[in-house]
């Protein structure tokens, strides 16, 4: 998930809205989001 979000942010991964969303989050925030989702399993 961290890699996907970073790829959206960098424009390497095609998107409609996720590129625009990912640009609003730092590496630390992306890691925190991924950790939260991982903990939901």
């Amino acid at each position: 998930m961290v890699a996907a979000m970073q790829a959206y942010r960098g424009g390497q991964r095609p998107a409609t809205v996720m590129d625009r969303i990912a640009k609003g989050f730092s590496d630390d925030e992306i890691k925190a989001i991924a950790a939260w989702f991982a903990a939901q399993r």
Binding site: T16, V17, I21, G24, F25, E29
Partner: protein
Amino acid sequence: MTATRPTRRQFVTTAAAGASASLFPRPLLAQGSQPRIVVVGGGFAGATAARFLKRADPRLDVTLVEPNPIFAACPFSNEVIAGLRDMRAQLFGYDRIAAAGVAVVHQAATAVDGRARSVTLGNGTKLGYERLILAPGSDLRFDALPGYDEGAAERMPHAWKAGDQTLLLRRQLEAMEDGGTVVMALPALPYRCPPASYERASLIAYYLKTRKPRSKLVVLDAKDTFSMQRLFENAWQELYPNLEWVPVSSGGNPTSVDAAAMTVSSDFDTYKAAVANIIPPQKAGRIAELAGTADRTGWCPVDPVTFESHLAPGIHVLGDAAIAGAVPKSAFAANAVAKICAAAVAKLVFGERPAPPKFVNTCYSLAAPDYGFSIVGVYHPVNGQWLEVEGAGGVSPADAPRMFRSQEAKFANGWFNAITSEIFG
């Protein structure tokens, strides 16, 4: 225990008996161990807040006050108006929210006593609270556009609250003879979900183009610029020669209506309408004003982290009613800030500090059933104001292929299904 407690308990138990096991009398706990939170308003903001409060901390005693047993959602109601969608797809009940442990009370909130910390309901019951969350949405101002009052709205629907008004506008468009002129009047900012007024213009133009090809749509606007303007104007140029947008600088400002004569006047002209859709200026829902949370603008200034009112301590205001800096008055934002507020309130009642929030808003608009685009913003509080995170967000590309537009139209549908099932499902 306060004096209001037994009354409330008794009322809630009788009114909603059977809806949820948690509504039955519980063992009495020490004061403070089960803080009481009352949420007024069961739309996108309030229903989300009630459900997420219970999820944040099951110890919270959460009551949702909403007069209507069925919620009619505004997003996608423009498709109902254009005959592209059944109204039933817009309707949601509160059963699942009740099953999640929220006491759902179908009454209107008629008064708030901030000092005594109690809310009075239409049937006279008083609900005590430790924290009150108001999510009353927008009220239409029937004193702002000369000639446009509640009676006029029966002939010239606003359809800016989903429900009967949506269906009224739909029926009028269906019944209109081919060749008739549809007139829309749009207010100045701020009001509920401004992009939806341009989506509506687009979808009405789509309906006319496909079903009433000799008719046209005139949009009288109190604005010169609007969100996603380039995307809308490109779509109109490509699809809708039958749509004439008259901005304020071209004399489009709506100045009065005459419901009996079916005319709408602007700065420069008077238009005879076969169907008129008047979206009047708006303000926070009435209870926000009664609770002392609205300022002179008619809207409610709030703290960006907790959404607690700047004017009335212990009362939080969410959704359309709040003035929250750059945060738009959208269902998406209402849902997002309700989660932030729920998390904050769940901390505050136990004397803990809420975490600094950050959230995303995405608003989709349809220019045609298979032609969608979006605006995204990422928001964070800076010095007591909600600001957009710089370098993030923005609108869909202006030069995207049609495939991109049809994908965004699909995602718009996906968003609606996801948000409504999260809240009501």
